[in-house]
């Protein structure tokens, strides 16, 4: 045994806490061998050991969660809750604070489905595949919305403000009512759930007075044990409009065109304009094209694009709902594109009754996008750099150019996408690296900090970040001498006086560990 401990806790104290956890969940579900501990490391991290867990505990019920939280308070053991812990690019299952005990909720898999209203009340361990299978087996007329990596959890993803690709793709906005164990071990329900037995818990979000669902999102203020979610009614028709754009500069006009359609409601789904590598990294490896270090030269990029028929940017728009309405909308969209470009829109039709494609556009879970880990050939990984921009073509183009230059400066291959919301763009960039390339790994940290610095200069903040960079990103939210952080930490200390829940999550540190801020 090589003990991993959080600051200020002795091995004996940890051991006593683990024994107490075992009384609640059974010996089997306290995971504390060296091998167990390794299974919670972030497989895609730059430096996984920096976030090693002390152990994990895996309850089956919400009541067990509550008891574990009480014990953690008694022994002052920091807990890091995960739902399925597949948060690749942002930390996987690993805790922000080294030596935390992972509170692994993946065994909690209950689904309650309200087929009249199209809502599901799910526990944290329910994966996108579980919910999808459940809907298929019970022939329910609803679609799930899944992220590109669908191996994770419906609850965990929504709690990190994850996204999918249908009209219900802004997952955190589909949350309606939660059950939470507060850091002191008390159950609370949000929204209408605050009234016991209310039939409207998962139907009306706000309840009475302040509405707290978002308080438990990207925070460390509670452990979510149940989440209400709205699901998209299965559509009668889906129309796809895909365009492969030839030039890097096409980003500007395409953003402006799509931004208008998002704002006026013509397009209800958030298309993501992805650079060529998004497609290519899943289909091929770099070594097949180029064997030198440094960013890929333009002629190699052109050859890869030609082979797979990928534009410099690809945009995939989808319309869902009644066929006649979709047809009409598709016409308006096609006309608008034709006015702007001669590059063709590829139009496809799907109608109810036809089989679903294994594709997030139809809410069908997939894992193939994870193949991009193999882009460099060796043991791969990535971290996500995801600033939020105004939905404006000039701003997007400027941000793209700045980021592209940084990738080249650091000898990395650019992998960017611009997801179009009604009034903002989430600009997700994957920093794909090769863990077997020591030289490259030595550049990643400086590169990432340069990217965050560039965004900060333009006053753009990240929507989500890797556990390595939570303090860095939180520090960029600096209005009035970091008033938001100070307020968050006032709340943290009030709700979690012993500082046991996810210390450091989103840069929020409880008093006990505040000196750990980096």
């Amino acid at each position: 045994m090589k003990p991993v401990l959080p600051p200020g806790l002795s091995a004996a104290q940890l051991d006593r806490a683990l024994k107490a956890f075992a009384k609640v969940v059974g010996d089997e579900w306290v995971l504390s061998t060296d091998l167990d501990r390794d299974t919670y490391l972030d497989h895609f991290a730059v430096n996984a050991d920096a976030h090693a867990a002390a152990a994990a505990v895996a309850p089956l019920t919400a009541e067990q969660v509550r008891e574990i939280v009480l014990i953690a308070n008694e022994y002052k053991v920091p807990l890091w809750p995960i739902s399925r812990g597949k948060n690749f690019g942002y930390g996987g299952a690993a805790p922000r604070l080294k030596g935390s005990v992972v509170l692994d909720l993946s065994r909690m898999k209950k689904i309650e489905f309200d087929a009249e209203n199209g809502t599901a009340l799910v526990e944290p361990g329910v994966g996108f595949y579980d919910l999808y299978d459940y809907i298929q087996q019970n022939k329910l007329p609803f679609w799930t919305s899944v992220p590109g990596n669908s191996w994770g959890s419906v609850v965990g993803n929504a709690l990190d403000r994850g996204v999918g690709y249908t009209t219900y793709g802004d997952h955190t906005s589909k949350i309606c009512g939660m059950e939470v164990v507060l850091p002191t071990g008390e159950f609370m329900r949000t929204g209408m759930g605050a009234m016991s037995g209310a039939p409207t818990w998962n139907l009306y979000r706000y309840g009475f007075g302040p509405a707290w669902d978002q308080m438990f999102v990207q925070s460390n203020f509670g452990v979510v044990t149940k989440m209400g979610l709205w699901l998209m009614p299965a559509p009668e028709s889906m129309i796809g409009l895909d365009i492969e754009m030839e030039n890097a500069d096409d980003l500007g006009w395409a953003v402006d065109l799509i931004a208008g359609m998002r704002r006026d409601g013509l397009l209800q789904q958030a298309p993501s304009l992805g650079s060529w590598l998004r497609g290519a990294a899943v289909l091929t490896t770099r070594k097949e094209w180029y064997d030198k270090p440094g960013a890929l030269p333009d002629d190699v990029i052109a050859a890869i694009r030609k082979k797979f028929g990928i534009g410099w940017w690809s945009a995939n728009m989808r319309l869902y709902g009644y066929e006649e309405v979709n047809e009409a909308a598709a016409k308006v969209i096609s006309r608008a594109f034709a006015k702007r470009t001669r590059q063709p829109l590829k139009i496809s039709h799907w109608r109810a009754g036809q089989p679903l494609e294994p594709n997030p556009f139809q809410g069908v879970p997939v894992t193939f996008p994870l193949q991009n880990a193999a882009w460099h050939g060796g043991r791969g990984g990535h971290i996500g750099y995801s600033p939020v921009l105004p939905a404006n073509g000039a701003a997007a183009l400027e941000q793209f150019k700045r980021t592209y230059d940084r990738y080249r400066e650091f000898g990395m291959d650019y992998h960017g996408s611009f997801a179009m919301s009604e009034r903002h763009i989430t600009n997700v960039n994957q920093v794909l690296f090769n863990k077997d390339d020591k030289d490259m790994m030595g550049r990643v940290d400086k590169f990432f900090r340069a990217l965050v610095g560039d965004a900060k200069e333009k006053r753009y903040g990240e929507y989500r970040t890797h556990i390595d960079y939570m303090d860095l990103v939180a520090s960029t939210y600096d209005f009035n001498n970091h008033a938001l952080r100070r307020a968050n930490e006032t709340i943290k200390d009030a709700l979690d006086p012993n500082g046991i829940l996810a210390p450091g999550k989103s840069g929020i540190w409880p008093r006990r560990y505040r000196s750990e801020r980096t």
């Binding site: 089997e28 299974t39 898999k109 329910v126 894992t367 193999a374």
Partner: protein, 109 residues
């Protein structure tokens, strides 16, 4: 429809009996389907990466391979391998992993 559907999803999946197979093989196969199959059946991440790795048989499909052993499978699942992340005991318990390994290795230790 006004009934609320209450079913434990996984238990429902795993309880499905497949005709014509011995009880253990059914268990191994159904555990494989809901845990590994997401990546190791057609179109999954594991199949995609393995099919491109030189020297890997059966187009990367684990279920069609003859060369897998129980020891190898169990080591890969807990330690990860290349770009396959590790899988915890909370997600796939030791007894479940044993069933899966048995199903894939067909008796080869």
């Amino acid at each position: 429809m006004s009934a609320r559907w209450k079913v434990l999803s996984l238990i429902a999946v795993l309880a499905l009996p497949l005709p014509g197979l011995a009880a253990d093989a059914v268990k191994g196969e159904s555990y494989f389907a809901v845990t590994c199959g997401r990546c190791h059946r057609a179109g999954g991440m594991g199949t995609g990466i393995l099919s491109r790795r030189p020297g890997i048989p059966a187009q990367g499909l684990l279920e069609q391979r003859e060369d897998l052993t129980v020891t190898f499978i169990e080591a890969v699942v807990r330690n990860g391998s290349g770009n396959m992340p590790r899988i915890t005991r909370a997600e796939v318990s030791n007894p479940q992993l044993a069933e899966i390994a048995d199903y894939l290795a067909r008796g080869k230790k």
